[in-house]
């Protein structure tokens, strides 16, 4: 059966299901299939080598009523460099990948069951800060490779939800099992893991811990501890994470501050975001597995300008200090995101 025919059947079924949905009678909220698209272009110069990186991320959300959701993300990333790195014409190719394709059953507050290929809920970055339109700095932290091998995806089942909640705090959890897979676009390791965090609502402070155990080859344990804080008084977003695995340990610390408190030109400065990040990595057992093999430190400073909440200019400068070689890393570009309903409904 052709893929477009299967897609049409899913769309028609979900529109019928959303029409039967009794949970949204008291709001105007619609449950129609949605395509969320992000386009971006990053001009990157790393150690004197220029690369041009046009990117597109397409997230498809197909609800079946208000309790079942099919979601998937496809990514198209172009990577073009000069033929001899610093001279010659630009050549390269576009990489296509399916980041995840999962079915969620939102059973109740405490249990959301997920099956399929899902993003591994490890630390802050892979699942939450990874999308192009969310990340404040375009380069992932060095320790992003911990707990997300081979490609940040698990093939299997996951339970997650809100374990306990009071007016002052809430405790969230995720627990998953992934089987080994070598299917094209769905490669995954055999592993088990979990994540839990406590969110203090008044302070807007979240503290969490991730753990993962691979069940193949070296049987590596990985763990990560993270903090996220958005004080109500200031337009500040502070995030930090420490990760450790067989191949190394390291941390990153990032603070994003919108300059809306600058007393002059508020219309301009309220759209400007300043993002410094510091990170340090120390290899263990020789490093590797997508991690540096030498001690590495990096400092980045980003400057972003938001024309709208979905359209921004991004730029950053970073300096990497490594026992192998030091390098400057420059990024400049834009990201644009829009949400497109795939079925007519109430506007």
């Amino acid at each position: 059966m052709k893929p477009w025919w299967i897609g049409t059947c899913i769309l028609l079924t979900t529109c019928w299901a959303s029409a039967q949905n009794p949970d949204t009678d008291h709001t105007e909220a619609g449950h129609v299939p949605v395509l969320s698209s992000t386009f971006g272009y990053i001009h990157n110069v790393n150690g004197g080598v220029t690369s041009l990186e046009p990117q597109a991320e397409e997230v498809l959300l197909v609800p079946f009523g208000s309790h079942v959701l099919l979601e998937s993300r496809a990514e198209f990333v172009g990577f073009f460099q000069r033929e001899n790195q610093t001279t010659g014409p630009f050549t390269g190719k576009v990489f296509k990948s399916v980041d995840y394709a999962q079915l969620d059953w939102l059973a109740n507050t405490h249990v959301i069951a997920t099956a399929g290929a899902f993003l591994l809920p490890y630390g802050l970055y892979n699942e939450r800060l990874g999308p192009l339109w969310i990340r404040n700095l375009q380069d992932s932290p060095i320790t992003d490779a911990i707990g997300t091998r081979p490609n940040g995806v698990g093939d299997g089942v996951m339970l997650r939800g809100n374990a306990y909640e009071t007016p002052a705090y809430s405790i969230q959890y995720s627990a998953y099992f992934s089987t080994r897979s070598s299917i094209n676009q769905l490669e995954a390791s055999r592993l088990a893991g979990g994540d839990t965090s406590i969110f203090l609502k008044g302070a807007r402070l979240e503290v969490g811990e991730s753990f993962q155990h691979t069940l193949q080859e070296h049987q590596i344990n990985s763990s990560g501890t993270y903090v996220s804080w958005q004080p109500e008084e200031f337009p500040l977003d502070l995030k930090a994470e420490f990760d450790r695995s067989f191949n190394g340990e390291g941390y990153w610390l990032e603070s994003a501050y919108k300059l809306s408190q600058v007393p002059v030109k508020p219309a301009f400065f309220s759209r400007v975001q300043l993002v410094p990040r510091v990170q340090q990595f120390h290899p263990l057992n020789g490093g590797g597995n997508s991690l540096p093999r030498k001690n590495t430190q990096q400092f980045d400073i980003g400057l972003n300008y938001y024309f709208r909440d979905n359209f921004r200019l991004v730029s950053s400068y970073g300096r990497q200090f490594s026992q192998q070689a030091n390098a400057n890393v420059w990024n400049a570009g834009f990201t644009y995101r829009f949400i497109w309903p795939l079925w007519p409904g109430r506007k």
Partner: protein, 93 residues
């Protein structure tokens, strides 16, 4: 390692923590729009608190897509059913 963690903290965090505090002290009573606006109701508060944990809260979402987007966000942010309902009432009353 401990010493470099301390210097990293000084470089990345202290200036940014001090900057808003100094700026807010200097602008007290001058421009009420400078500080983040206080949320008016429970749905708005949840919107600011929960969305802001990962990204800038989006300002424009069509009501017909709101239910689907909130389902997606409930899965990602592990929100409770009550929070989902409050967000739906706020975003698509």
């Amino acid at each position: 390692m401990r010493r470099s963690i301390l210097s990293a903290f000084c470089i990345a965090v202290l200036p940014l923590l001090l900057c808003p505090i100094l700026l807010s002290a200097g602008t007290k009573g001058a421009d009420p729009k400078a500080a983040p606006a206080k949320p008016q109701n429970e749905g708005e508060r949840l919107f600011a608190v929960n969305c802001g944990r990962c990204h800038q809260p989006p300002m424009s979402i069509s009501p017909r897509t709101t239910g689907t987007i909130i389902m997606h966000m409930r899965t990602r942010a592990r929100l409770s059913r009550q929070d989902e309902q409050a967000l739906l009432k706020f975003m698509a009353p």
